[in-house]
């Protein structure tokens, strides 16, 4: 019996341990800064990017705060000491692409993105998705710019936004995540290099799905991207980010900030498919994914929805949040986090209710395989003015590996007695009986495990934009031919 059990376990492991397909590197000529971090480097970054002086001082302020801060240690994570002086804070392909033509992108880089299934050439683009592609520290191209411009939608790299729309940057950057918000946010504010910028004008529904594709290529450089999305009154936008990185035995640091601002009646739907390199099956290598994502529902009836599918990274530290300030504003968080081997994830959501009749929903699905650790950590805070706020949270964990761990840390901080808060949590293990049932019907064990996992996360996967649902499914290593509608 033991051996049979082991057999089943072995088969399951095979299913969930498919080889990382995005682990290649691209040989390109780079213009790098030396490793290390000090005020000089920060000034150099700012100078290299020809930034206005307000941004330069923003960076310096952040750096000075960061120097006095410590890396957070409260998460259920075992984070090896990181030597911040060994990281390269700026790395870019030497040939800087012209902003008006995608033809001038280094063919090697185009090849990389093609290999990743992301085509930047206009004719081969996904039909209704505009893409911004970020390679190490800089954006190498944004598609569909003209079409979007017709609607008044601005979608470009944050570097371009700093050059062309400095007043918007000055008005909004750092207003949701302040430069000293936390250790990694301060680091990002000091050294961020690129990321995406979206601005949706009043009364406009963005006609395309917007998408950013992040790629770490360099071994020693960290990626510190910064994304800022502003949805004006009565506007709406759906945005998706995807991430991959090469296979290295060293760990790469990725410390990003995403800020969303939704004004009155505006809707922002932000989806992430995160597949950074997760390290090998003994836990060597992989990306440290330390991310601060926060959205502000500034106006009445504003709506922000976070959907994330987290399958990569050796360590994930990430708590997408909604500040629900506007009356009747709504925040949502849908998450699937799959960990395997020695991956660690401590992730969840924060819903901060500040305005009256604000509502939020959290639906988190954690899947732990191998010897991985998967924790949900979430905060629901109801401020004293948030009369009649509502929250519903559901955190489900699914244990696949016999040595894996799942934990749930829900925090409630309630200062108003008129609110309604509900929390449900469930932990289940992959069931031998369910597998037996499916295999008896002729479904081989790999596919059966896939079906069970897919079924477990279905509610969340259905929240992803159609165009990316298939890709996300693949990421979960589930080859369920034709079953995903």
């Amino acid at each position: 019996m033991e051996s049979e059990k082991k057999n089943t376990q072995f088969e399951i492991n095979k299913v969930i341990s498919q080889q990382y397909k995005y682990g290649f590197t691209t040989p390109i000529e780079r213009a790098d800064f030396p490793a290390g971090l000090n005020e000089e480097i920060i000034l150099e970054i700012s100078k290299k990017r020809k930034e206005p002086s307000f941004l330069q001082s923003f960076r310096l302020r952040a750096y000075r705060k960061w120097r006095r801060m410590n890396s957070p240690s409260w998460a259920n994570l075992n984070i090896p000491a990181i030597d911040y002086q060994k990281i390269r804070y700026y790395s870019a392909p030497r040939t800087k692409p012209k902003l008006d033509s995608l033809d001038q992108i280094d063919p090697e880089i185009l090849k990389t993105f093609n290999q990743l299934g992301i085509s930047l050439q206009e004719q081969k683009k996904l039909s209704n998705v505009a893409i911004d592609a970020i390679f190490d520290s800089i954006s190498v191209g944004t598609t569909y710019k003209e079409k979007l411009a017709k609607y008044g939608v601005i979608f470009c790299s944050i570097s371009d936004a700093i050059q062309y729309y400095p007043s918007l940057i000055k008005k909004y950057l750092g207003t949701v995540v302040s430069s000293g918000d936390n250790f990694f946010a301060a680091l990002n504010s000091a050294v961020f290099t690129d990321g995406s910028f979206c601005y949706i004008p009043q009364n406009t529904a963005c006609p395309l799905e917007l998408s950013t594709y992040f790629r770490i290529n360099d071994k020693e450089s960290g990626q510190f991207e910064r994304t800022l999305i502003i949805a004006e009154k009565n506007s709406s936008v759906s945005y998706l980010e995807g991430c991959t990185a090469p296979t290295f035995s060293e760990n790469q640091l990725h410390a990003a900030i995403v800020e969303l601002i939704a004004l009155e009646n505006a809707q922002i739907k932000y989806s992430t498919v995160q597949n950074w390199y997760a390290g090998d099956n003994t836990g060597i290598g992989g990306v440290y994914n330390f991310v601060t994502k926060r959205g502000l529902c500034a106006g009445k009836n504003a709506f922000i929805s976070w959907t994330q599918v987290e399958t990569g990274s050796s360590i994930t530290w990430k708590y997408p949040s909604c500040l629900l300030l506007g009356k009747k504003s709504l925040g949502e968080f849908y998450s699937v986090a799959l960990t395997n081997h020695y991956q660690q994830a401590d992730t969840g959501a924060k819903m901060i209710h500040l305005g009256e009749k604000t509502a939020s929903k959290i639906l988190s699905k954690g899947i732990s395989c191998g010897t991985s650790q998967n924790a949900y950590r979430g905060l629901v805070r109801v401020g004293s003015n948030a009369n009649f706020a509502r929250n519903f949270s559901q955190c489900d964990s699914f244990l696949v590996g016999s040595h894996s761990q799942a934990s749930t840390y829900p925090y409630l901080d309630i200062s108003n007695s008129t609110c309604v808060i509900e929390h449900e949590a469930k932990i289940s293990k992959i069931s031998e009986e369910q597998l037996f049932y499916l295999t008896q019907r002729g479904i081989a064990i790999e596919q059966a495990v896939g079906l069970l996992i897919n079924g477990f996360c279905k509610e969340v996967m259905m929240k992803l934009p159609m165009e990316f649902a298939a890709e996300a499914d693949k990421l979960l290593s589930l080859k369920l031919e034709g079953t995903v509608g």
């Binding site: 019996m1 049979e4 369910q434 037996f436 008896q440 479904i443 079906l451 279905k458 079953t483």
Partner: protein, 250 residues
């Protein structure tokens, strides 16, 4: 002479060091209906799970051949593809997987194994709708999650739907009659009888003789402590009704 479908010889099976089946001998030929009755814990369900390849059981000794092949060597899905079907006493609930997706995957996996063409979703819905009609099941059955929130009767009907879909050679019905009302039992038995694929056979595990009014057994076996102590015809069932399992103790 009918050819042999299943042949079990001197089978001993244990789970966690406890012997559940011992010295079991059992032969099923084509076009037969075998009934296995016995007290709770006598090993009836164990036998069905062992035949279907449940990983928790350990075969201590014995041989099982199915259509001339060594059954014990095959993983569960291969046993299924070769025509062995087990209708579960307690069908499992699987959330997030629609009945329709599940049925289509199961069907197409068998087609693949038999090197026959797989059906696309539209072709498949035609096929399955015919079967739904036969079993008097509503269409919305397909869009619900597999067995999730199904009543006892709905679960059993779903088992029969799967059986019809996979057209197996040997069908084990593990207490298909439990949790069914009389009308539902009638429909299901009629459907089983009418739709049995050519030359296929049934093994019925049951506590209640009522089902035998609809499905006439070729042979009746009484199972006690992991082996057949009596084999005969309907007279055994009548004896059982009169005096309980007492009579069957050797």
């Amino acid at each position: 002479m009918n050819t042999e479908l299943l042949s079990i010889k001197n089978l001993n099976v244990s789970i966690e060091e406890t012997l559940i089946l011992q010295n079991l001998n059992f032969t099923v030929k084509e076009n037969e209906i075998h009934v296995i009755m016995g007290p709770n814990g006598s090993g009836k369900s164990t036998l069905s799970k062992v035949l279907a390849g449940h990983p928790a059981y350990k075969i201590q000794k014995g041989d099982v051949s199915f259509c001339g092949k060594n059954l014990l060597r095959m993983p569960p899905e291969e046993r299924s593809h070769n025509g062995l079907f087990l209708a579960f006493q307690y069908p499992l609930e699987i959330s997030g997987v629609t009945n329709y997706d599940f049925l289509r995957i199961a069907y197409n996996e068998k087609q693949k194994f038999l090197k026959k063409p797989e059906l696309d979703p539209i072709q498949f819905i035609e096929l399955v709708q015919d079967l739904l009609k036969k079993l008097q099941i509503k269409n919305e059955f397909l869009t619900r999650n597999l067995n999730e929130g199904f009543s006892g009767g709905e679960k059993k009907r779903n088992e029969i739907l799967q059986m019809l879909l996979l057209s197996p050679k040997l069908i084990i019905l593990d207490e298909i009659d439990s949790g069914l009302d009389i009308d539902a039992l009638k429909i299901i038995c009629k459907e089983i009888k009418d739709s049995l694929p050519a030359n296929s056979s049934l093994i019925l595990i049951t506590h209640y003789p009522r089902i035998l009014e609809y499905l006439k057994p070729t042979k009746v076996h009484i199972m006690m402590e992991g082996t057949f102590t009596q084999t005969g015809g309907m007279e055994l069932v009548n004896l059982l009704e009169k005096s309980g399992y007492q009579f069957a103790i050797n």
